[in-house]
């Protein structure tokens, strides 16, 4: 186990989630993530990674408790939590629905009710952070896959979240876009939780790996520990 950092940012306690069809997706899952950590969430398809991620800002609400910076996620705190936890979805096409890049990145700040000048400042800062300045008036639909991914991150960064959560961030990117994308992730200072199958990405940029299978955490350790345990990887469909 890594040295527990003093400052927990996400505390999940006994989370249990069942789909309406009766399939149990998460079983008594307990996990704490600390400020500044870069955590990889790995596991085979259908292990419950995406389901877990969708709990982190209350899109799904299972049994048990989740606290974000000490705030319990309930129907009343949803909007507050959503500005603290930024979710970047696997397919950027699901996240981009405006005629211009600017409007897409501005969605979060405008929804928050921020004044125009601040919205503008946040959009500029977010686009700078993902190296997409100058693309404000472009049409998101026409961007390349890698560019769409960057804009998708900017749409979340403009809300100034404290933790970024990614679902399969490198899936579907060509090798160069992938490399540039990982370089970008390395620049971002936020606490991160990254659900991925990309073990090279895990090795390069995380300092903690959580293995999840059938809705349960089966291992939690440093990348060296987990990636070095071939038997573990084999048992959970990762090698």
């Amino acid at each position: 186990m890594p040295e527990p950092l003093p400052n927990p940012i996400i505390e999940i306690q006994n989370l249990r989630f069942q789909y309406p069809d009766g399939k149990v997706a998460l079983e008594e899952l307990t996990l704490t993530i600390f400020t500044g950590e870069k955590v990889a969430l790995v596991g085979p398809n259908g292990a419950g990674k995406s389901t877990l991620i969708l709990h982190l800002n209350g899109i799904f609400q299972g049994k048990g408790s989740i606290r974000v910076k000490g705030v319990d996620i309930t129907s009343k705190t949803l909007e507050k939590v959503r500005s603290m936890v930024g979710l970047v979805f696997q397919n950027p096409d699901d996240q981009l629905f405006s005629p211009t890049v600017y409007e897409d990145v501005a969605y979060g700040p405008v929804y928050m009710g921020l004044p125009k000048a601040e919205v503008h400042a946040r959009v500029t800062a977010a686009l700078n952070a993902v190296h997409m300045q100058g693309f404000e008036q472009n049409v998101p639909f026409h961007l390349s896959g890698g560019e769409k991914k960057r804009v998708a991150i900017a749409t979340v960064l403009s809300m100034q979240p404290e933790i970024l959560v990614f679902d399969e961030p490198t899936a579907g990117l060509d090798p160069r876009s992938r490399r540039e994308f990982i370089e970008l992730l390395e620049e971002l200072p936020q606490t991160m939780l990254i659900a991925t199958h990309d073990l090279d990405l895990v090795q390069r940029m995380t300092n903690r790996v959580v293995v999840i299978d059938r809705g349960k955490i089966v291992a939690d350790g440093s990348p060296e520990q987990i990636l070095g345990d071939h038997a573990l990887l084999l048992a959970h469909g990762l090698a």
Binding site: P99, V139, F141
Partner: protein
């Protein structure tokens, strides 16, 4: 996201048999023309294009935005489909949506399906087409008129379709015209604003991303004069007839008159059938009681048999 029933879909039981059948016949006739026209312009692209876009409109109807106090606005899509695909394809797409909603989800009745197709897929599309084409013409094809035309067309499609529905309910004797027309029309004049805004938002997105879809040669050849005239007639009749019907000195009398006419027609049909009564039973109360007993025995008998069969199966 749950499937939410729409107030525009009339369930079975609310329209008289005759109104339902007449509107079925009208809808079938229009659909036959639409199938011929789209097949001519699209050829073998017709099935995949219409099918997938119908699914997209259905799914798009599930997206909503909150208005206030738990109410939310969502799309019907008649104007959007008309603007992007042309009227005949839009008729087919909307018909597919309304048909699946009735057939699988019981949103709108099966006997009332003809009327629902007429209101949403025919009146909705034709009135939207008329308004959009006129605004585009007047503006000499300037690009701002796509959004303005889209907004007005969407609003018109909802408003006029709701008048059609209200009129059908009054003619059926279900809802008095002097109440149903202002009520339906008033509510949908508001709902139409939401339709207009969503349609405009969708058009802005699509115009930014795929301008080629708005070039004239892409538009369907079916926007001929006949469609416009049909749209004009439908829109005018509904826009003029409805206030007339509801502001008639006594709207009730007007309904009664309509009702009387239909009843007379029904009587004429029934007069062909010789008088017939249950032997020895002509008292309605008594026959209701007897029907109740027969029904109870029937239901009980079936339940008993099924239960017995189930037991037998379990034993095997």
């Amino acid at each position: 996201m749950l499937f939410s029933p729409n107030q525009m879909h009339i369930p079975d039981g609310f329209l008289s048999g005759i109104v339902s059948i007449v509107l079925w016949l009208v809808s079938i006739a229009v659909l036959a023309i639409a199938l011929r026209k789209t097949n001519k312009t699209l050829g073998d692209r017709e099935i995949p294009l219409m099918g997938v876009l119908a699914a997209a409109i259905f799914a798009g109807q599930m997206l909503n935005f909150s208005i206030t106090g738990g109410t939310s606005g969502h799309l019907l899509g008649a104007a959007l489909a008309t603007i992007l695909l042309g009227p005949w394809s839009a008729v087919l797409v909307l018909t597919s949506v309304v048909a699946i909603q009735a057939l699988i989800f019981q949103d709108g009745g099966l006997l009332a399906l003809g009327a629902n197709i007429f209101n949403m897929a025919i009146v909705g599309v034709f009135s939207a087409n008329l308004v959009y084409t006129l605004i585009r013409k007047v503006s000499m094809g300037k690009s701002w008129s796509i959004l303005v035309g889209g907004f007005v067309a969407a609003w018109t499609s909802i408003f006029i379709a709701s008048l059609a529905a209200a009129l059908e309910l009054s003619i059926s004797g279900t809802s008095p015209a002097n109440l149903s027309i202002p009520a339906m029309g008033g509510i949908h004049a508001l709902i139409g604003i939401g339709e207009g805004l969503i349609t405009t938002g969708a058009l802005a997105f699509i115009y930014a991303s795929r301008r080629d879809l708005f070039t004239p040669e892409k538009a369907e050849a079916g926007t001929g004069k006949l469609v416009l005239i049909a749209g004009g007639i439908l829109t005018l009749i509904l826009a003029i007839l409805s206030p007339l019907a509801s502001s008639h000195p006594d709207g009730l009398e007007w309904v009664a008159e309509q009702q009387g006419f239909i009843e007379k027609a029904q009587e004429a049909v029934y007069n062909l059938i010789p008088d017939y009564t249950f032997p020895g039973i002509d008292n309605p109360t008594l026959s209701t009681i007897i029907a109740g007993v027969i029904g109870a025995i029937l239901v009980f008998g079936v339940a008993f048999t099924v239960a017995k069969l189930q037991k037998k199966q379990a034993a095997n």
